[in-house]
Amino acid sequence: MSRFILFATTTMLVVAAPTASFAHAFLDRAEPRVGNTVATAPRELKLWFTQRLEQAFSTVEVTNGSGQRVDTGKPRVNDNEMAISLRVRGPGTYRVNWHVLSVDTHTTEGNFTFTVGK
C-alpha cells in the first residue's frame, strides 16, 4: 500500500509543477468591439463571456482619456452577458475595465479600449 501512495503522491507533485502562463481570454466578444473605432458615441457597452456570471460580484468601469468614469448605473447581467449604460461625450479613446465572477466561483478580469470618432 505504501508503494501506491508513493506513486500517487509523486504523480501529483509532477503535475503540480509550475506551468507557463497563458493569456486569459474569457471575454468572448464586446460591443463596441475590442480595439475598434466607432463613428458615433455608443449609449451602451455590452460584454459577452464564455460562462454565466454572478451579478452581485461582477463589475465594469469605462473611463475616458482623463480617467473619468463615463458608465452610469449598475451593470446588468443576463446569463453570460453584461451591459452598462454609457454617457460618452465627444471623440477619444475609452478604456473598459471588467471584473467578473462566473457561477462556478472563478473570478477573471481584463481591460481593453475602444475609440469614438477619430
Partner: protein, 320 residues
C-alpha cells in the same frame, strides 16, 4: 492556481476534499445497503443486523462531516468570491449576499435542506420503507455538487448536458468509492466468523459488487469523457495546462483503481465462487478485503484531486 499554492487556495482544496469524501461515503454506504447489503445478508440475520448498525453509523458520521465541511466550504468560497479575509466573510451581509445572489449560494442552501432531511430520515432508519427516501436524499446530496462546479456554469443545451454528466459522474464515484467501506467491513466480519453463512454472505456481496462496479466504471468513463470534451477540449490543452495535467493525474489514479477492480473481478471473485477447497475462500476474502482498503485510499486521493480541479480554470478557457 500558481505554485507555490497559497494558503487560501490550499484550504479550499482541502475542505472540498473532505466534503466530497464524506458525502461520497454517506451516499455510497446507503447505496451499498440498498443494492448489495440487504440481498447479501438475507441468509444471515446476525450479519444483517450488524451490517445495518454499521451502515447507520457510517452514514450518520459521514453526513455530520459533510454538513460541517460544507459550512466551512461556503465561508471560504464567500471569502474567495469577494476577495475578502475569512473573518470579513463571516459577516451576515456577505453570507446573505452569497446565499441569495449567487448560484453557488442557492445550491448550498438547497443542499443544506437535503442534508437536514437526510438526517431526519436516518433518525427513523428503523422504518424500512423510509430507506428508499433516505437513499434518494443521499444521492441527491451527492449529485447536487455538480451545480457548484464547472459543470453548472454552462448555458443552453450544452450547460444541461454538462451538469447532467457531472451529476451522474458524482453518483457513480460515490457508488464505487463509498461502497468499498461497507464491503470491506462485511468481508472482514466474515473472516472473523469463518462460518459457511459468512462465506455465503461474502459470495453474494462480491457478485453484486462486481455488477455495480461495471455499471459505475462504465458511467464514470462515459461521463468523464463528456466532461473532458467540454473542459479540456484538445490534447494540447491536456498536456499544456495545469488543469489538463491534474486531470491526467486523476486518470492515472483511476487506472490503478481499475486494475485492482479488474483483478478482484477476474481472479478473486471466481476463487470465492468456486467449490470450496481448503483455505482458498478465506484467503480470497482476505485479499479482497485488503484490496478494498487500497482502492478506498486511492479513491480518497482521487477526491483530493477533484477538489483541486474545481479550483483551477478549465483548460479549454486558455486554448482558443
Amino acid at each position: 492556481m500558481a505554485w507555490p499554492i497559497d494558503s487560501a487556495a490550499l484550504a479550499l482544496v482541502a475542505i472540498r476534499t473532505v466534503h466530497f469524501s464524506a458525502t461520497a461515503l454517506t451516499a455510497g454506504v446507503l447505496l451499498f445497503r440498498a443494492v448489495i447489503g440487504a440481498a447479501a445478508t438475507m441468509s444471515s440475520p446476525v450479519s444483517a443486523q450488524a451490517a445495518d448498525a454499521q451502515t447507520h453509523q457510517l452514514a450518520g458520521w459521514g453526513l455530520l462531516v459533510s454538513v460541517l465541511s460544507g459550512a466551512v466550504w461556503f465561508v471560504l468560497t464567500a471569502a474567495d468570491m469577494g476577495n475578502l479575509a475569512v473573518s470579513r466573510a463571516l459577516h451576515a451581509d456577505v453570507l446573505t449576499t452569497v446565499a441569495e445572489a449567487t448560484q453557488f449560494g442557492s445550491v448550498a442552501v438547497t443542499r443544506l435542506v437535503l442534508a437536514l432531511l437526510l438526517g431526519a430520515s436516518l433518525a427513523f432508519d428503523g422504518i424500512k420503507p423510509l430507506r428508499w427516501l433516505t437513499l434518494a436524499l443521499a444521492l441527491g446530496l451527492m449529485a447536487s455538487i455538480a451545480w457548484t462546479g464547472h459543470g453548472g456554469s454552462g448555458f443552453g443545451v450544452e450547460g444541461d448536458v454538462r451538469v447532467a454528466a457531472d451529476a451522474l459522474h458524482l453518483i457513480a464515484a460515490s457508488a464505487w468509492i463509498g461502497g468499498l467501506v461497507p464491503l470491506a467491513l462485511l468481508l472482514s466480519a466474515g473472516l472473523h466468523d469463518n462460518s459457511s453463512a459468512s462465506i455465503t454472505v461474502a459470495r453474494v456481496a462480491t457478485q453484486r459488487v462486481s455488477l455495480l462496479g461495471i455499471a459505475s466504471v462504465g458511467t464514470l468513463v462515459a461521463t468523464g469523457s463528456i466532461n473532458a470534451w467540454f473542459l479540456v477540449g484538445s490534447s494540447r490543452a491536456l498536456f499544456g495546462t495545469e488543469y489538463g495535467r491534474v486531470l491526467l493525474a486523476k486518470l492515472a489514479l483511476f487506472a490503478v483503481m481499475l486494475s485492482f477492480a479488474a483483478f478482484n473481478r477476474t481472479i478473486l471473485t471466481p476463487r470465492l465462487l468456486a467449490p470450496a477447497t481448503a483455505g482458498s475462500q478465506p484467503a480470497a476474502v482476505r485479499t479482497l478485503t485488503r484490496h478494498c482498503v487500497v482502492e478506498f485510499a486511492l479513491g480518497l486521493i482521487i477526491l483530493g484531486v477533484v477538489g483541486w480541479l474545481g479550483t483551477v480554470h478549465p483548460a479549454s478557457h486558455f486554448m482558443n
